[in-house]
């Protein structure tokens, strides 16, 4: 048995010692062993929850049988799921994956677009003409914002028509949120492009600076409210943390602008902040 637990073949092993049933019926203390594979804490916690649930139910049933006529539990608990009652994982994962792709792809394209000019040398146009830095940034960013919005349209259509995730909330709120979001994520790419000087650094940098906060600290796997310290800081300073509630809220929780307005406002702060930062870091002249 231990061998099969070790190989991962078994998640749970239950050991019932001899004389268990007799002991329970006579009211003697009785033990059952439950061996849980804790190597994957996520699965382990779920298995433990089920085992404890079964144990509690068993105890109340025994108590009900032994004290006939009296209800075992003086109070009953009603558990209700507020959203996504049938626990459809598509309704959580599709809007989340959409948020992640809209963080990663526009940022990478944007960073590469600027750094490619540095490598090719066509950035000289910025250095030698009277074009101002803000004009360069906005002119570079707008086509990629438009492209990212086209991505968003495709992803949203796929979510609804292919994955069957209903858009229960307000489409207008989702579109406004997405527009601000992709403006923020392209600005994130611009910021990375301002200190990367090679395309490999831009690609690698955007990927590692996006994937970690996007998958771990923005509420996709673990709620942001449970984080602390450095992960919390990284989560709070990443745009996806604010778009995820907008995306899931619009699709699954049927929320509209009145509930999501504040989050959209917080997300919007990224746009001037990131643009200002890249403006400061972008040099008008090569070093």
């Amino acid at each position: 048995m231990h061998h099969r637990l070790a190989s991962g073949e078994l998640q749970l092993a239950i050991e019932v010692p001899p004389g268990f049933g007799r002991n329970v019926r006579r009211g003697h203390p009785a033990e059952v062993g439950a061996w849980i594979d804790g190597a994957m804490p996520f699965h382990g916690e779920s298995v433990r929850g089920y085992v404890q649930g079964v144990h509690t139910r068993f105890l109340t049933e025994v108590a009900a049988v032994s004290r006939t006529g009296r209800t075992a539990s003086p109070a009953s608990i009603e558990i209700r799921f507020r959203y996504n009652q049938d626990f459809n994982s598509n309704e959580a994962m599709v809007p989340s994956t959409m948020s992640m792709l809209l963080a990663l792809v526009p940022a990478i394209l944007m960073a590469l677009a600027v750094v490619r000019e540095k490598e090719l040398g066509s950035i000289t146009n910025l250095y030698v003409t009277p074009v101002r830095r803000i004009e360069f940034i906005v002119g570079k960013q707008l086509p990629y914002v438009a492209l990212a919005m086209a991505d968003f349209a495709v992803l949203a259509a796929m979510a609804v028509f292919i994955f069957g995730v209903p858009l229960k909330g307000s489409l207008a709120t989702l579109v406004v949120g997405a527009l601000i979001y992709v403006t923020a994520t392209t600005a994130y790419g611009l910021l990375i492009s301002s200190f990367a000087s090679t395309q490999i650094a831009a690609l690698f940098g955007t990927a590692i600076l996006t994937v970690l906060p996007a998958t771990q600290f923005s509420g996709m796997l673990v709620p942001v409210s449970t984080l602390s310290g450095l992960p919390l800081l990284m989560g709070r300073l990443f745009p996806m943390t604010y778009f995820l509630p907008i995306s899931i809220g619009s699709f699954t929780k049927s929320l509209g602008f009145s509930e999501l307005g504040l989050t959209i406002g917080e997300l919007a702060l990224f746009v001037p902040a990131l643009t200002l930062l890249s403006l400061c870091l972008l040099r008008k002249q090569e070093r």
Binding site: M40, P41, F42, G44, E45, F195, A196, S197, T198, I200, A201, F204, G205, I208, L209, L212, Q216, F217, L221, V222, P223, S225, T226, L227, S228, G229, L230, P231, M234, S258, E259
Partner: protein, 92 residues
């Protein structure tokens, strides 16, 4: 033969040298093998950790307070919601 090996040696080390000159890339390499790993280890655990829960106590008895106090940190973080605010949130 000797010349080919020399060429291969210099072309190979050129890759390393060009990487060492790319400070942004070096910074990213250092980040991804230090801070990124540290942050990830701090961040996500499979266990229950400061799950945000809200308690609406409409009874305000000793028992209801005992139930509320049974949710302890670091497993939970509590948000006490007044019955009035709870009713308002259901309306909205």
């Amino acid at each position: 033969m000797g010349e080919a090996l020399t060429n291969i040696f210099w072309l190979g080390t050129k890759e390393v040298r060009s990487m060492l000159h790319d400070f942004a890339l070096l910074g990213l390499v250092i980040y991804s093998f230090s801070l990124a790993i540290y942050a990830q280890s701090q961040g996500s655990t499979g266990e229950l950790h400061s799950a945000a829960i809200a308690i609406v106590d409409q009874d305000r008895s000793q028992l209801s307070r005992d139930i509320a106090n049974a949710f302890l940190p670091p497993y939970f973080q509590k948000w006490r919601v007044t019955p009035k605010a709870f009713a308002a949130s259901l309306m909205g």
